[in-house]
Amino acid sequence: MIGFIALAGALEVVYRHAGLGATTSWAGKYSASALAIRIVGILVLAPLGEELLFRGVIFRLLAPTSTALAVLITGALFAGSHIQYSWIGMALVFIDGLYFGLARAWSGSTLLTIAMHCAGNGIAVYQRLH
């Protein structure tokens, strides 16, 4: 968990130093209700849905064949599901996906990856609110 927060911070620094980190602020862009819906969706529902599907169902189906393959494929599918990002953004999501996959393999739990994903998205939401 601490490792993931450190990784997320490091990737953010790389992203910004590469001149790619122009995160658009949400201040004044959305109404209060739309903002609340977005925050719930991004902080709670997205990590829950994505982790249950990728590190839950798909990982479970692939892991008996090969754990490494399960980590790689779920990471790739996870990155592919973020097609709205730039290629560098998707590459960073792929790295996050590999980290989540390894955490899933080592701990045997999707609950851990859900918590990590919530923390990562929490950082992203915080940046857009400030």
Binding site: L45, G49, S107, S109
Partner: protein
């Protein structure tokens, strides 16, 4: 529309996952919680 999608897309993913877990429970008798990996994390202490 994009705000609504922020809610509907993950709800759809959750529903798909729960259906997949239910199918596996019925066909392969794997408990839903175990199939989805919802057991608490197991950490083996490093020496």
């Amino acid at each position: 529309m994009s705000t609504l999608a922020q809610i509907l897309t993950p709800l759809f993913l959750i529903a798909c996952s729960l259906i997949a877990a239910e199918v596996n429970t019925r066909k392969r008798h794997i408990p839903r919680k175990e199939f989805l990996g919802l057991d608490p994390p197991k950490f083996t202490p490093s020496s």
